[in-house]
Subunit: 308 residues, 3 copies
């Protein structure tokens, strides 16, 4: 693995070997977190967070990761509203400019490809913290890290993905990483929100078993991983379709009785109605633990990218 000096723009940058090395590094980071809470690995390093779209959760995770590595953070949580002169300049110039001050840049932007533009002339590594519908590679890393930690492996697992599989960048990126391992896929979505054909085809070409259904209850018992995602009401063609979804896709105690005893439930958060709060205390619910895992995996990634 040599991520030193690399921009992190897409989940597709991570091959199997790199992923597993990164996960082991993240476990070392968890030891720092549970001991002193902070190392001095990144002493003298400054991270700039440039958020052109607000995301407290993701920004806090990156900033916490940098601070717990011993580095410092300069932050702009609202680039669009607060930086009038920067609006006049190209993203390339902004990247070049900020890279004269900081050692690493973390950026979020509503437009696909925008983070790549900022990275183009930057003299320091840029990490994509979400560029609209396109990529959010560290979310995918923390999802798969959570699976790896829970099962001690990524092979011989059945991964269920539930919700809006058409529009969500989260399930797409999960497939990107998981297809490198020996896993089966079960996709559960309303008819109009199915996983894009090219992704399904890509998985099948790679020899993966893929099953597509529209009801969770008939397949949940086969899943090792139940990867939930939000479904936005406005994605449905009519109210009736939405009502049907609400009834059949919600994860609650009753539904969980059908799931395996050692299955895990993951979710990128925030959850709205798709996961009932009654399962929060179910030991299979891993969505809050994921937040903690997100700090560890980002610490590992920052350390690698900075060559620490």
């Amino acid at each position: 693995m040599d991520l030193k000096g690399q921009h992190i723009l897409s989940a597709s940058q991570f091959d199997k070997k790199t992923l597993l090395e990164l996960f082991k590094k993240a476990q070392e980071m968890e030891k720092i977190l549970s001991n002193k809470g902070q190392s001095d690995l990144a002493f003298g390093k400054v991270m700039a967070t440039l958020f052109f779209e607000p995301s407290t959760r993701t920004r806090f995770s990156f900033e916490t990761a940098m601070m717990r590595l011993g580095g410092r953070v300069i932050a702009n949580s609202d680039m669009v509203k607060t930086s009038s002169t920067m609006k006049m300049e190209s993203l390339e110039d902004t990247g070049k400019t900020v890279s004269q001050m900081a050692d690493i840049i973390v950026m979020r932007h509503p437009e696909a490809g925008s983070v790549g533009k900022l990275a183009f002339k930057s003299d320091v590594p840029v990490i994509n913290a979400g560029d609209g519908p396109a990529q959010h590679p560290t979310q995918a890393l923390l999802d798969v890290y959570t699976i790896w930690k829970s099962f001690g492996k990524l092979d011989e697992l059945t991964i269920g993905m539930v919700g809006d599989l058409k529009n969500g960048r989260v399930p797409h990126s999960q497939c990107e990483l998981l297809k490198q391992f020996d896993v089966n896929f079960i996709f559960v979505s309303p008819e109009g929100l199915k996983m894009p054909r090219e992704i399904v085809g890509d998985l099948q070409d790679g020899g993966h078993y893929v099953e597509e259904v529209s009801e969770l209850k008939v397949v949940i018992s086969k899943m090792d991983v139940i990867a939930m995602t939000r479904v936005q009401k406005e994605r449905f063609e009519n109210e009736k379709d939405y009502e049907k979804y609400v009834g059949s896709y919600v994860l609650n105690n009753e539904m969980m009785t059908k799931a395996k005893n050692n299955a895990i439930v993951i979710h990128p958060l925030p959850r709205v109605d798709e996961i009932s709060t009654e399962i929060d205390t179910d030991p299979r619910a891993k969505y809050f633990e994921q937040v903690k895992n997100g700090v560890a995996i980002r610490m590992a990634l920052i350390a690698e990218v900075l060559g620490l």
Copy 2:
């Protein structure tokens, strides 16, 4: 005193013994401030500040306190505007989520009870930095700490409170803490803005002398502490009442000639017209020193809550 791991939601949590121990700890913190300016007590600890209502003064005070303890800060100074996805989720989920990253949370919100909601599922201590009309416990702590520092005691004092005693959470919280000591109260307010009957009754039941008047000049000579508060013009029923107030409640040099030589003047700031700038250099004016005391008492509180 064992505040370790406790949420700090209300001034009523602090009994006499806890208060006095906290004040002694704050004095130790002042030594750090006047020596190196920073300790490493909170090394490896991260504070998240979540402000759903802007308050630069209070946020700066908490963040300075954490930094001077050697800890780090992740900040959101405008949760309402900058965090669209977090608006979708319950305060309980936000608390649970942020508590996976930070070691302590400081929150301000315009609604009474909201900080308690966020604390409900949090895995780390939450400090209330003001929940609307309800509570702002650290403001009360710094007010009373200032009195204690000035007189070396909290007994045998006459506390004057001046201004809008009906709507202000500051005088209410001051009473909450001061009623535990042997003090007399003199309340000075316009007729329509008197201290709520239940608070007056509570103080009288506790054996306190309580005097209520509508003119400051007739009672100021009896006060050891002159606790001023803002009066918002719109609280008055008519312009005439307001004009009367402006004339009779303003603290200026002339009024201060009637006050005791060792009296002190406190105010939560910002002051508008109720304290003339001409008394800023009067040694009895303690309202800017209070800001410094606020950092020390918050350092003490954070250290206790984190068990440092």
Copy 3:
């Protein structure tokens, strides 16, 4: 040089000796930057950044400088929008209040003279990070530091300033500093945007050669320093004048063939059309290096002002 405890409000505060000592200090700071990236000179010191007008570039530069000195930062990047109670109070009170918590204050504000008001009652040094049309002393410092670094001297140079010389505070402040040295000035601007008469007169009274022209191409070969500035379209009286400007003042490869081999190009950024991206790789282009120099000179200034 004794800047310890001083407010930094205007470029005119820096005499020749102070400037040169500051530049040598900035070079020491560059060694910190290229070695460990951070010192512990400012351990225990807290900087408050109060931006009443957004400026990510300038705020990031000050915050990076403070962090790389080992200090901490409490930041408000949008004082106008996020601090309703502070709006009620005078700038003098805000300065007095923040100075009870922080060791140094950096402020930007759209109104001339506002930073001086905030500094008036502050108990700690205040640095002006731009007060509207009036002053932005650290920008001038980094411009002149860049010239000094490039030529190893500030005497016997011909300084060209190009663009809107009437309204820009940048060229005015550059003149303020450079007039202390043995330099010639060539001012290139449209007729309606010429350098103010009082500045030209002041330079001529000081014995400086001053040439004023309206076309860059006829004088660029004489310049050691080509100091570009933005011209805002709305400054022109009509579209035709603007079109003429765009054609004749843009710095591109063709224009640079006429410039000296060891000339340097500086610009405060952001650039829009006035510098073509094709010269970014020209070794004479120093505008991105200026950003790095800005961190070093601000580290030097902060260290001096805090007496470190």
